[in-house]
Point group: C4
Chain length 225, copies 4
Amino acid sequence: MSLGRRLCAEALGTALLLAAVVGSGIMGERLAGGNVAIALLANSIATGAALVVLILVLAPVSGAHFNPVVTVASLFSRAISRLEAFSYIGVQIAGALAGVALAHAMFGEPLFAASLKARAGLGQWVSEAVATFGLLLVIAGCSRHGVRTTAAAVGLYIAAAYWFTSSTSFANPAVTVARAFTDTFSGIRPVDAPAFIAAQCVGGLLALAAAWYLFAVPSRDSSPP
Amino acid sequence: MSLGRRLCAEALGTALLLAAVVGSGIMGERLAGGNVAIALLANSIATGAALVVLILVLAPVSGAHFNPVVTVASLFSRAISRLEAFSYIGVQIAGALAGVALAHAMFGEPLFAASLKARAGLGQWVSEAVATFGLLLVIAGCSRHGVRTTAAAVGLYIAAAYWFTSSTSFANPAVTVARAFTDTFSGIRPVDAPAFIAAQCVGGLLALAAAWYLFAVPSRDSSPP
Amino acid sequence: MSLGRRLCAEALGTALLLAAVVGSGIMGERLAGGNVAIALLANSIATGAALVVLILVLAPVSGAHFNPVVTVASLFSRAISRLEAFSYIGVQIAGALAGVALAHAMFGEPLFAASLKARAGLGQWVSEAVATFGLLLVIAGCSRHGVRTTAAAVGLYIAAAYWFTSSTSFANPAVTVARAFTDTFSGIRPVDAPAFIAAQCVGGLLALAAAWYLFAVPSRDSSPP
Amino acid sequence: MSLGRRLCAEALGTALLLAAVVGSGIMGERLAGGNVAIALLANSIATGAALVVLILVLAPVSGAHFNPVVTVASLFSRAISRLEAFSYIGVQIAGALAGVALAHAMFGEPLFAASLKARAGLGQWVSEAVATFGLLLVIAGCSRHGVRTTAAAVGLYIAAAYWFTSSTSFANPAVTVARAFTDTFSGIRPVDAPAFIAAQCVGGLLALAAAWYLFAVPSRDSSPP
């Protein structure tokens, strides 16, 4: 696979992921008549289902990271080079922003808007660390089962984590940056984004340690660290 | 497989798909007490589940297109002949109309009724292009995983796309024509159908280009373009 | 497998299926605060999930029919003998009744009660024929995919059919008889049961014809008719 | 696998399971606006999805018991030694308590609180016996299908059993002990816990007998009893 094609897959996949997250949040909130649980149910099911599909379709091209923390973990395990990692992260962020604009275009919102939704506090930061820890552990632990099982597991995990974390489980710095630019159901105030991202990094590091101990590999491939 | 048997599978599958879409929409709306999100949750889960099952059962017979855009993509990739494609599209539309009548018979509605539900505007047209783009990309990208994974991916994709597009993701010209004939939850005014179909064609063409670049094949088989 | 063990599996599986159908109906209705769509969402998800699991677990023992129409279809295809078929149907009905009593015991209801819930009319009878037609077509069409796919397909099909039929898709004479003995969410008046069963038989016969034409086998095995 | 690594997997898996159960219960109740069915829908979907993922990820390390009844069944079938079984049960309980504290930390609750939620009565005790009976039968019956199918089946089973039992299907003594320490949606009064655990043991024993008769093995491996 050429790097161009892989970067295209990462950008497209992250864009469609954000379109699914933001779009289903808007639809859920508009239709739910004020019942936030019903909106989140729709949002979590749509996000989980979209993730399964995007990983199935794009993993054979780029590995379907869609997430800088996953890319950095791949870098640590030497599955990709530093240049590739930086390129992946760049297109993930660009793709995520494009996905937000696409969702807004579909729902007649201005293409970008700074979110006013406060998401902060110790509980939410612990949540982001836990959510990212779990996500990376799932990816590392499922590698032996193959891409189809990994896709299913990641989708199920995120759908569940929307509910069992108080932050609704962003677990992804590119997603966090992009969701700062939507003033809808799934948004986060720009000022709250850095702490989320820091917590995600902490969770990711803890996951690498746990995966190294539990599965004897630091990440999704078995090359020596 | 004889062409007669394949056309029978396409007609039956598209009919049952429409019965599922229209029937679950009626049931959801009647029971949801005015909460549209709950009705759409039922509608999207039932549609996604029905799609998975219909593809599993009928793909070995006809390929389980159920969708003129998918059939045209097969024609472009030379997987089927022009005569077969025209026949497929004909029975898809006939089957879709029969499925609407079947749903109406089950729920005590007149067999056909022109829809009064307005579905128009730039946001919804962008949505239909995105929805169809995604659907064809999923089919092309999953071909390497086999029919069972493709069935699961298409069902999950459509269930998600009901929520992340403002049009609730028709993504299928035969479905669009048929849904113009139901004045229930899932209907679309006949006057709004052509723009939806045009947007679906645009999305389909974009998907062929993307699949050609990403997967090096224009559609679901690997014959040279 | 001895016949005793197979009959035990059929009885146990049908009992647990009915416990799932009736129990989740009671729980859904008690908690849903009058919103019938939410109760049916819980009821349909729980029933579909239970079906998948029961088929996975018991199909290797008895074939996991749990349904006289499925057993008769097996008889037509000479997969089982007439004596076995009669025995299967007997324990299916006995198991179904035991499952209703078990659900009632779990929820503090009298063990049996005649249902007062009217379920009748042409639309519902058409629904039962369609539901049973689809169920048998799914079983016949999935046989080539193996038991795990069949289990998933049957569960998804029934969860969808709860919504796209006006009768909520009994599709099973043993289930119909047993549900006449519960005066809760999933009940049916005893006087309405015979017409449901007749419609199910019509749907089953139509499915055998369709499967014979589409898949060139009348039922789930490939022995000559 | 060293025992240390296996115990770590059991502790971590049980902790994350409890975090999912308790956390999604809190989130569901906070957002559902008083509609308990919607809260339980979120709670059951999140729990089932988390179980599938945790079993997929950790079964290759420790067997993914997360449940003293499952561990005792393994002991009966001589799949593990007495020392291993005692160690497993110890870390399951410790992990479960840690998971409750983690959920509370994420949602800003005090780390531990005695539950005030009454869960008692014959119907609920029958429910716990049925729920545990079914769980062990599912594990025994799915062993021939491999770990991926077992994971899916256990998750689907528990999601369904939340609805078809009046106790919402604890089916796990370690989970029961831990849920006595949360005064939120998923809690149980400490005084009610022992009867639940006793009922679970009864259901587990019945399942061993049924599995021995139906599958000719007392538990998940085929070593002689």
